[in-house]
Structures are given as C-alpha cells and as structure tokens.
Symmetry: D2
Subunit: 112 residues, 4 copies
Amino acid sequence: MSDIQHIIDFITDFRNQRNWAQFHNPKDLALALSIEAAELNELYLWKKDKEIDAIDREKISDELADILVYAFFLAEKYGFDVKNIIMKKMEKNARKYPVDKSKNLATKYTDL
Amino acid sequence: MSDIQHIIDFITDFRNQRNWAQFHNPKDLALALSIEAAELNELYLWKKDKEIDAIDREKISDELADILVYAFFLAEKYGFDVKNIIMKKMEKNARKYPVDKSKNLATKYTDL
Amino acid sequence: MSDIQHIIDFITDFRNQRNWAQFHNPKDLALALSIEAAELNELYLWKKDKEIDAIDREKISDELADILVYAFFLAEKYGFDVKNIIMKKMEKNARKYPVDKSKNLATKYTDL
Amino acid sequence: MSDIQHIIDFITDFRNQRNWAQFHNPKDLALALSIEAAELNELYLWKKDKEIDAIDREKISDELADILVYAFFLAEKYGFDVKNIIMKKMEKNARKYPVDKSKNLATKYTDL
C-alpha cells in the first residue's frame, strides 16, 4: 500500500471514530485548510532571514501536517488519486511555464 | 520508492529545470500555499449544496494539486518526512480530541 | 475630520508609541491582514444557520476590527484615500457587473 | 454624514440594485473577504524590496478596496459601528501590548 493511502486510511479512521464525517462537507474542508494555511503563515509574520531560520521546526511541521490532513480529506471526499491529480496539474504547469520562457523568472504565466 | 518521494522528486526536478529554487524560501512557499487555498475556496464561494455538487471536478483537483505541490515543496525544504509529521500531529490531535469527549462535536479543543 | 482619518491617526499613534513601524512593510501588513481574515473565517467553520446566528457578536467584531486596522495601515502606508479607492473600484465593478447582466446571479464576471 | 456611512450606503445600494443580498450571508462574506486578502498577498508573492516598490499602485488599491468593501458589508450585516468596534479592539490591544512590554518587539502577546 502506498504511503498516501496509508495516511488516508488513518485519518478517515480517526474521523469515523469521532463521527466527524457529518461536518466534512467539501466547502468546510476547504475552509479548514485555508485556516491552517494562515496558521502556518503566522509563524513567518514580521520575520526575516535569521528569525525565520530560528522558528521551532516542530511548529512548522505541525501546521504543515494540519494542511496536508485537510488536503488528504478533500482528496478522499472526491475520490482523487493524489499522485494522479498532481501529475495532471504539473503537465498543465509545464505548458504554462515552458523552461525557455520561464527560467529564472517568478512571473505569473499570464504575464510571461 | 514511496509515492510521496516520487512526487517530491518530480516537482523539485520541475523547479530546478526553471532555476526557481531562488524564489522558494519558506515564507514565500507558505504564502503561495495560502493563495492556492484561497483559489480552492473561491470555487465554493456563494454556493450551496447542489451548486457545490455541480462544480467541475477538474477545477477542484487542479487547485488541490496546487496546494499539495507547495505543501510538498515545504516538506522538502525542511527535510520533513510527510508521513511522519502527519502521524506525529495526529497523535497530538488524539490527545486534544479524545473520542469520548469529542464524538459528534465540531467544538475546538480549547472549548471542549 | 472624517471618521476614517480619525481611526488612521489613532492606530498610527498606537503603532508609533510601540515603535512598530519597523515591522510594517506592505508585504507583512498584507500577510497580517490575511491571517486575521482566517481568524474571522474560523468563527464560522463547520457551522450552519442557527449556529452561525449564535456566534458571540463581540468575537465577530473583534476579528473584523483586526482586519480593518490592517487595511487602514495599508491605506496609510500607500497614502490612499480609503473612500476614493473604494469608489474607483466600485466604478470598475459596475462595468464588470452591469445590473441587467448580473441581477440575481452570483456568477464571476469572467463567466457572465 | 460620516465617510464610512456614505461608503456603506453606496455599496448596499450597489448590492440591492443587483439583488445580491440573497448571497451575502456572513459566512460567505467572510470567505469572500479572505479570498480578496489572498489576491492582495499575490501581488507581493516571491517579491522583495525593489520589486515590491515597483508594484502598480492601482493593483494594490483595487485589492485593498475589495477587502474593505467586504469588511463594510460585514459591518452592515451585523449593525456594527466601524469606528466603535475598532476603538473597542484597540483598547484590548493596549492591554495585551503595554508600551513598556511591547516596544520594539513583534512578539505575539501570548509570548510577551
């Protein structure tokens, strides 16, 4: 079994033990994910270089884990294969950002 | 090789072909992730039930893929093992949300 | 003096007493604003109708105030007149969303 | 009439002409606000100092205006007086961040 499927089985089991599927509609799952993304951002707020390097790694990993858990709940909700949807989007990204046009540039594709 | 490592190898290769690592400091990666999370939220904005079911699945998977890609870039940046950081956080969640106290409740642990 | 200018004077005074202008570059102000926006969202997470009506009004007003304060700090940073920038954007909105095309529809202008 | 009330009258009139109040429940208004906050953040993504100074001021003012409009819609929805809720929150901030303890520090009050 892939790591991803193992994680998804674990978190859906955790959810089901608490009967939380009743709250896990897609709109609220996406909202929860964005809230966790803001909590991750908050670790970096007002900080520069050295201060960023000094952030407790466990605080970063905890917030990143929260984001990943909601992302995996959404994949499970829609029956998405995580690796497939990423590869599909990366193909689109490769067309939007051809190497010769986008190398060394942070420009959004709409402005390339 | 795990699926997760395969994905990480693919996206770092994509990044390196374009020499984009120069932009991928953690603070901007976290910011990019939150921007994608907002784009996912936007698919659900103003919508209820049937309208939510009617959303094009590929729009959902594309935004979810974007979020996952930045999450994996952050894991790679910090040398985190994705499965381990999730399991570690889920242990903390199990302590914050014991089944007997949290079953059927959406209440945040600080208010349990 | 307008209410807006009175608020801006008050919050810049508060900032200056604490010598916080050193942290208030636009990128971090925008980041702070989005973090507060997520804290507001969190009050509604997992909730529907009656539960939403039951949210403590002071929690809503506190988070909304935090968002407004950062928005006013950004206006002050760029020397924007709050009323003017809103009226200018509303003119653009009127052109993007003519009444006859957008009445009763939540559709984004790109899909009208 | 205060500037704030004038703005609120204008935007509610714009909303009513399009019969959009039906979509403007608080949870979706807060969601819309956070999406606009992400669009503002996106103007700063990957950028540092000089690049940030070079951002078109009208792009900044348009996104900031969008955020403010949703913030004012929320204030109108709850019958909040914008100036009062800000002053009330600033009083709480003054207690959380006494000048002698917080001067020159970006530390969150929970860690002061």
